[in-house]
Amino acid sequence: MKDIMEYIGMALILIGGIFLFLGALGIYRMPDIYTRLQAGTKASTLGAMSTILGVGFIQPDWLVKVIIIVIFIGLANPLSSHALARSTYRMGVAPKLKSGIDAYKKAYKKQVKKHTS
């Protein structure tokens, strides 16, 4: 039983490592900050969750605490990347949009007008 838990833990850590690597590769390859955030957030969330959960499986005493940390990462990680994306847009960094669709521009300008007038 203990061996099986350990193998599951190792597998989870390996999977987490692979996803973290892919996230890093994504940050390197993507063209602008928004797409980089996309690659970074998703891969690092699952990667970190999986790695930490793997530690919990290898060391069962920590499992409950580890689950709480995983939940916290699941809540906090997307939140921070959303804050980064929003503040970047408001700093005036234009996204490189291949499709040319930008629904946010209008709403953002409206808000700026409201606050400055």
């Binding site: 996803f19 892919l22 996230g23 590769l25 994504g26 390859r29 993507m30 063209p31 602008d32 928004y34 797409t35 955030l37 996309q38 690659a39 957030t41 998703k42 891969a43 969330t45 699952l46 005493d61 409950v64 605490k65 689950i67 709480i68 699941g74 809540l75 997307p78 939140l79 990347s81 959303h82 994306a85 929003r86 847009y89 996204p95 490189k96 949009l97 291949k98 499709s99 040319g100 669709i101 930008d102 629904a103 946010y104 521009k105 709403a107 953002y108 808000q111």
Partner: protein
């Protein structure tokens, strides 16, 4: 324009249901962190949870004890599975895009309208959207979500809503808006 009535957090009413809800959640987190059943630990945890619940229940809890009804807990479980599948899918999707040599992306910012009025439910929806395939929440203005989409297929708000938000929102509506 906005249909949501925004109530400042300090003016919200505190009820006994909200108090118990906050206390229970705090106490469960305490139990999980200490992982012991010694009386001294339990009493300390209970006192700390009581103090925290007394000060924060109107901010922390949206709808009191209603949240603990069995149907809602079942929906929570369903949401968890829907979310985990979406998370794994999104990782495979982004991995495929990153690995393929010509980098197949077509980014754009789209919007859709949400039906959720509860603050926490909106947070959960925004977070879920950020973690699902190719989408990143940029801002929420009134009832509109603005989404950076790595592979834009259409920009009609209705279709976008169906594609991105519906699977999550219909469960969240059942949990928080009934």
């Amino acid at each position: 324009m906005s249909t949501t009535k925004h109530i400042p957090t300090l003016k919200r009413k505190s009820t006994i249901g909200k108090f118990i809800h906050t206390f229970l959640v705090m106490f469960i987190i305490w139990l999980a962190f200490t992982t012991s059943l010694e009386p001294a630990e339990l009493i300390t945890g209970a006192i700390v949870s009581l103090i925290l619940a007394f000060f924060t229940d109107r901010i922390f809890s949206c709808c009191g004890l209603k949240i603990f009804s069995p149907i809602k807990i079942l929906y929570f479980v369903q949401y968890f599975f829907v979310f985990m599948i979406a998370l794994i899918k999104s990782n495979l999707d982004i991995a495929r895009r990153v690995i393929s040599p010509d980098l197949p992306i077509n980014p754009g910012i789209v919007k859709f309208k949400t039906k959720l009025t509860n603050g926490f439910a909106r947070l959960v929806l925004a977070n879920s959207i950020t973690l699902t395939p190719g989408t990143l929440t940029i801002d929420v203005v009134n009832n509109n979500f603005y989404i950076h989409w790595i592979d834009v297929k259409f920009d009609d708000p209705e279709k976008v809503y169906k594609e991105i938000a519906e699977p999550f929102e219909k469960i969240l509506l059942k949990i928080y808006e009934d």
